[in-house]
Subunit: 555 residues, 2 copies
């Protein structure tokens, strides 16, 4: 098989929500030219990735073929789409294309990591097209929860592909372009080979709601508030930030932006001209002189993140501002699964201060940025592609979306990370399976998720740790007693003596009866000491700790 | 002040959902006689308590006064109410009273830990009363998501107190007694001093729904299923287990109970006569000979717990049973905040098998066991107490509940763990603040949550660990080079050499320039080596690990 083919290969984002990285290729097998759509991150958690700073897609496969990568296109500025671009810039080297707001954010990230800002090139909305190898790519505006989100129109020798990006169908998105069904119909009026499509809300049965609809309820809430009002949402949801700020302004309150991301996003949106008519803001210093009932703070930390402004306010003062009895805190946001504990912690801390916490449990103060099931169906029918490839979802979302598409008469397939699909035929077919995975940014180093580094940390967290030190003389005889240090273990157990002493006693006894063969062999001795230490710990405290054995020989 | 008083002191459950333990006392200050209502556990998580097996209330204060404790009353058999009874039996020694089903479960726990089963005494429902010191206590039936839940009628020299226990107002609970408003009105017709009341669902605005209402929807779902049907719920929700089993039976399916808790709960409910007419079940061995479309499995693991039947089925075979494409898995349950990741993992694993997962997102397959806001109001108005003391809730629930009670004309107060309240006056007042907290069952040992043991484990999980070993000769001169072991750290960093080698080189250099004063002083040397190791790690890999320094001296 040497004929040219169009391939689609997700390296991230397909089978998970986060870390989006979708590769398209065209050419003869193993000679395809590539473009990459999005290169995002996902966030670590204590359960699976303690101590990790950021999770990036494993792009080993692509790195080895970086000379065939012609461009990277970024659909929008959410971290799970743009966050890894600067981390892999040195590895991939390809030019990065984005619309002006997204490019602004991407450039900030590039320069933070010491890369040239001109690595990111600004592209206008459709009908402008960028030629990248065999591809011509245009940015087709679509609404989402961040300004200037775009679908990509990817023209290939095998026909047009529409990559939806993250989207919702919002006729009144407050900031940025409304969804324009006529423009979309126009672009898709020929035959479209494939729609690669956001699956996030495929289980939400009702049509999505517009950003504009939130204004009145939020205004009513703020008008009714007595003390200081503090509201949080994703900083990148500039439309929401504007809705909140306007509600505050109409209630006669001075607006304060708190938190680095909040300031940066509003600044970027203003710089790039996507945000007009944003109410005047005052600094946090100035805010200290304003009566609290005349203040409205817009803060970062809608997911309860420990270092964000909301969590800091919940713990006490932040930049000289303190919440008090009678103030109100609004979560104009949804809690992402996995973040519940952090959000609930913040809510209870505010409750202890006497602050009234309002969240979106009644559905009045937040709308999703993703298309619900009927909206997904609507997009299918506007694009009328030959095949629908669900992306941006966990496995259950992709499967449901594929079933939906097939039931409605389209070709469809569940394609997860690492499945290289040939899209050139009548239906999508698997060309190859590629090894993919996750790369951890851990401190300043990138490590593979499967390297065992984090696994060892998890084991220490679950089991505790013992260090056993033994010194042997020139004749391989123990010199003095073995020495133990424990970390993360109870001090005393069953026998009521210090655990360390019981360990040292048992290890000493073991050394006393160990044969020369073992004493001479580091590996054997280490294994035996580890086993003895774990047995003693199990008997004393019912745990089997991780053990580091240090054998020093006087030679 | 030597006059006698009635006190209420939550040691757990007030300011959290879980680990319930409510103490009542009557007598002169510091001479009160006590009864304890419930003694439950809460569950550890990787975020805050990695490696911990179970979280128990810290009962140090009560242990020191155990001679004044006359009885323990257990309202119902949920783990957060009964789970710690057997763990503290030796410490407290007081007799335990419960109704027959709860007592059955409590006795199983007692015997598992080697305690006598007759430590638990069975009490009939109201009007039977148990005399315990100055108290007379009766079990007043109320509906909840477990059989035979009871409120307690606590008669004291200062009047009657109603302790609601966990409750909902269900006229048709499927298993166990319906809520009986006439009986409640009768019991509360005199004056009630205090209602200590469940707050869990105070933020849910709609009236609660009955267990009975779920039957038709579940039946319809099971009737429409093609392959094997597997459903999960809390095993202790015997009514739900029955509803599910009956739906399976009507659809012509054989019923299999899978998971130890599921089998045990149904057994306990049958033994104690609270469960009648439960469909016949077959064993998992027998199930292997039944066509899958004729099977319905009821399994443990509604919260995605790794070791429960549902998670095991999601990973592959469990007891010879395997789920397949076209089967259905039903979560007849709500995900408790914090468990989302585990549940979602199970859902996606099933999706990968081609199993259709149905959850309660449409509200058709689960109802809560707790009273919603209007039901709480209804109970207030049936009991008409002088004061409402909210319990069983996080701070935000207690605060909202207290506000609700006060707004409706009752005395009310937010009382959290450790606040000893005097209930003898016209309004509740704080008598004293008691130190409370959490005790971790860690392996076979109980440790205090604040002892630092788990904190050290969390630090190792976040930062990794280095062991530094140094040997000094008789003259306090380093003998050979320092030696490093790392755990949970990247192997190489910035300089591309092995981290261990860079560490050893830097530590060696440090030792070379260290003064005699430092070399002679273990503490100083240890601190200096730790600092050096952390600086090197920071420079190489951008992390500051935990460091164990072992200094051996040849003396």
């Amino acid at each position: 098989m040497t004929s040219k083919r169009l391939i689609y290969l997700p390296l991230g984002g397909a089978g998970e929500i986060g870390m989006n990285a979708y590769l398209y290729g065209y050419g003869a097998p193993d000679k395809e030219r590539f473009i990459l759509v999005d290169l995002g991150v996902t966030f670590p958690d204590m359960d699976g990735s303690p101590g990790v700073d950021l999770i990036l897609p494993d792009i080993t496969w692509l790195k080895e073929r970086a000379d065939r990568l012609d461009a990277i296109f970024v659909t929008h500025a959410h971290e799970d789409h743009v966050g890894a671009v600067s981390h892999f810039y040195s590895d991939l080297g390809a030019p990065v294309y984005a619309r002006v707001f997204t490019a602004n954010i991407a450039r900030r990230k590039m320069s933070e990591r010491g890369h040239p800002e001109d690595a990111v090139q600004t592209v206008s909305a459709w009908p402008e097209q960028v030629t990248a190898g065999p591809f011509k790519v245009g940015f087709l505006p679509i609404s989402h929860s961040i300004p200037e989100s775009a679908a990509l129109v990817i023209d290939t020798p095998d026909g047009r592909v529409i990559h939806s990006g993250d989207f919702k169908l919002d006729p009144t998105p407050v900031v940025g372009e409304a969804f324009d069904p006529d423009l979309w119909a126009e672009v898709c009026k020929g035959s479209v080979r494939a729609l690669v499509c956001d699956s996030t809300n495929v289980f939400s049965p009702d049509p999505g709601r517009s950003e504009l609809g939130l204004g009145p309820a939020i205004e009513e809430l703020v008008l009714g508030a007595k003390g200081m009002v503090v509201a949080t949402t994703f900083a990148s949801n500039v439309a929401r930030v504007k809705t909140l700020a306007e509600a505050g302004q109409r209630a006669g309150r001075s607006i304060v932006l708190l938190g680095r991301a909040m300031e940066r996003m509003v600044e970027a949106a203003r710089e790039t001209g996507v945000l007009h008519g944003f109410p005047n803001t005052i600094s946090d210093e100035a805010a200290r002189d304003v009566p609290r009932e005349n203040l409205m703070l817009l803060v970062t930390g809608s997911q309860g993140e420990r270092r964000a402004a909301s969590a800091q306010l919940a713990r006490g003062k932040y930049r000289g501002i303190e919440m008090k009895e009678g103030d109100m805190f609004l979560f104009s946001s949804k809690t992402i699964p996995g973040n519940e504990r952090g959000v609930i912690r913040v809510m209870n801390q505010f409750s202890e201060m006497g602050v009234d916490v309002v969240d979106d449990s009644n559905g009045k103060y937040h709308v999703s940025g993703h298309a619900n099931r009927p909206d997904i169906e609507q997009l299918h029918d506007i694009v009328r592609p030959q095949m629908v490839i669900p992306m941006h979802g966990e496995h259950r979302h992709l499967r449901e979306h594929a079933k939906l598409a097939i039931a409605r008469g389209y070709q469809g397939a569940v394609v997860v990370n690492g499945m290289m699909m040939d899209l050139s035929g009548n239906a999508p077919s698997v060309a190859e399976y590629i090894e993919t995975g996750r790369t951890y940014l851990d401190g300043s180093v990138k490590i593979g998720a499967m390297d065992g580094v984090v696994r060892d940390r998890i084991r220490m967290a679950l089991n505790g740790h013992i260090t056993v030190t033994v010194i042997l003389d020139e004749k391989d005889e123990p010199l003095g007693e073995p020495w133990c240090d424990t970390s993360g273990l109870a001090e005393t157990g069953r026998s009521n003596a210090l655990l360390v002493e019981v360990l040292e006693e048992d290890l000493s006894q073991y050394l006393g009866r160990a044969g020369n063969k073992t004493l001479r062999d580091d590996d054997k001795l280490e294994e035996a000491l580890r086993r003895t230490a774990r047995q003693t710990a199990q008997a004393e405290i019912g745990k089997k700790p991780e053990v580091t054995v240090v054998i020093s020989r006087m030679r």
